[in-house]
């Protein structure tokens, strides 16, 4: 693993602001980003990354390669929750296992975005269509996990369950709709639109990301306390499963003939875990599952692991294999 990558990543302002947030909590500072600002920052990031992706697709066109990659992304997002579920079932109830499986099968847009900043700093290009891959990977894990839960769980107390609600929630939740919508708008509005929007979506992007990761550091550090209850098994899972997923994703990306940048983004998608869209979906579809497990796992373990250690690690492996 290349030491320069690790250090370069460490000295990247967004990562440093994440640590500042963690520090703030550990010295019990009253530093905080008041709601609903973190929400709007995350909407901004989705909006900007969607538009950039769309502009990228408009510039490069859609080739067969792209279709194959998107298919592979969808498959990974459906397969990961399957094996995650059966690993988790060794220690957890059906509901909790299914909810955590959904969390890890789906993706984290902020991890993806932080990864784009990492690549940008290293001047490694990646295809705009990877944003489409991200959007496609948000939903399948939710469906798979709920199916597993409904097949395996006996306790279905009272409330009517609605598949149509679930589908709507999986495919039209705010994050998916905003990314997909911005992507399509990026494609439709082309060169002229891109130019008019660049100062907002590109120039100030890194600054907003720093601010947002400051908040993520605060939130992650606060949630870490919850994990004491969760125990070593879940904490270990939160690090090992991303590594397993990456170990599958990297050879797959190689086999599909992806460029290094695209392979890296594909890997980070498979290795990341959701903490915005999936918790909301789980709360509605698997209310028995305990959000104090799946939220801190993805937020306080997997997210920091991926942006601090995972990104340089995955890229070092990819660099070695591709060269």
């Amino acid at each position: 693993m290349d030491a320069n990558l690790v250090i370069g990543n460490f000295l990247n302002p967004p990562i440093l602001f994440f640590f500042l947030g963690v520090l703030a909590v550990s010295v019990r500072s009253d530093l905080e980003i008041p709601p609903p600002i973190p929400k709007i920052l995350s909407l901004y990031l989705l909006f900007a990354i969607g538009l950039k992706g769309g502009v990228g697709i408009a510039a490069s066109g859609l080739q067969l390669q792209v279709a194959i990659t998107l298919a592979a992304a969808t498959v990974m997002a459906s397969v990961v929750p399957l094996y995650a579920f059966f690993i988790l079932r060794r220690k957890l109830s059906v509901a909790d296992a299914a909810a955590i499986a959904a969390t890890y099968g789906s993706v984290s847009a902020v991890t993806f975005i932080t990864a784009t900043a990492f690549l940008d700093k290293l001047s490694i290009p990646y295809g705009g269509y990877m944003v489409a891959a991200m959007a496609l990977m948000e939903s399948p894990a939710i469906i798979v996990a709920v199916v597993l839960y409904r097949l395996r769980s006996s306790d279905r107390s009272g409330f009517a369950f609605s598949w149509s609600e679930l589908w709507r929630d999986a495919f039209f939740n705010g994050s998916v709709l905003l990314i997909m919508g911005s992507l399509v708008i990026g494609i439709l509005s082309g060169e002229a639109g891109a130019k008019a929007l660049k100062p907002f979506t590109t120039d100030i992007f890194t600054g907003v990301l720093c601010f947002f990761l400051l908040d993520m550091g605060i939130v992650a550090a606060k949630r870490l306390g919850d994990l004491k209850k969760a125990g070593v098994f879940l904490a270990g899972f939160g690090i090992l499963l991303p590594l397993v997923n990456a170990t599958i994703a990297i050879p797959l990306a190689y086999a599909l003939g992806l460029s290094q940048g695209d392979a890296f983004m594909f890997t980070i998608l498979c290795a990341s875990a959701s903490y915005i869209a999936v918790p909301a979906a789980m709360r509605l579809s698997i209310p028995e599952a305990n959000p104090s497990l799946y939220v801190p796992m993805s937020l306080a373990i997997t997210f920091p692991f991926n942006i601090i250690a995972g990104m340089p690690l995955y890229l070092a492996v990819i660099n070695r294999i591709w060269s």
Binding site: P35, P38, K39, S157, G158, F159, V219, P279, S292
Partner: protein, 97 residues
């Protein structure tokens, strides 16, 4: 002023649409909602929601005539049972204007 029953409900923000639906079905004449509540209860600390709204509470107040109380309470009991939350009933006088 006429005597009425005051029903206060604290429930997950996610369940709010379902709860308000149930209240409508039970035929309440109105309700008031304060979102962005936080709290602590059987399910631990609920610190409010921002990125993930999963830990946010809402406070709902609805006032009804005495004879409607039972219907309303029985309508909302199942959702509290399954999804958690608190319901309080007390006496009040409604100012007719």
């Amino acid at each position: 002023m006429i005597p009425v029953k005051k029903i206060e409900i604290i429930i997950d923000e996610f369940e709010l649409p379902s709860l308000l639906n149930l209240l409508d079905q039970a035929g309440v004449s109105g309700y008031t909602v304060i979102k962005d509540a936080t709290g602590k209860g059987d399910r631990g600390v609920r610190s409010g929601g921002d990125l993930t709204r999963v830990f946010a509470n809402s406070y709902v107040l609805t006032v009804c005539p005495e004879d409607k109380l039972d219907l309303i309470v029985e309508t909302i009991r199942p959702i509290l049972k399954q999804r958690g939350g608190v319901c309080l009933v007390s006496e009040a006088q409604w100012l007719i204007h």
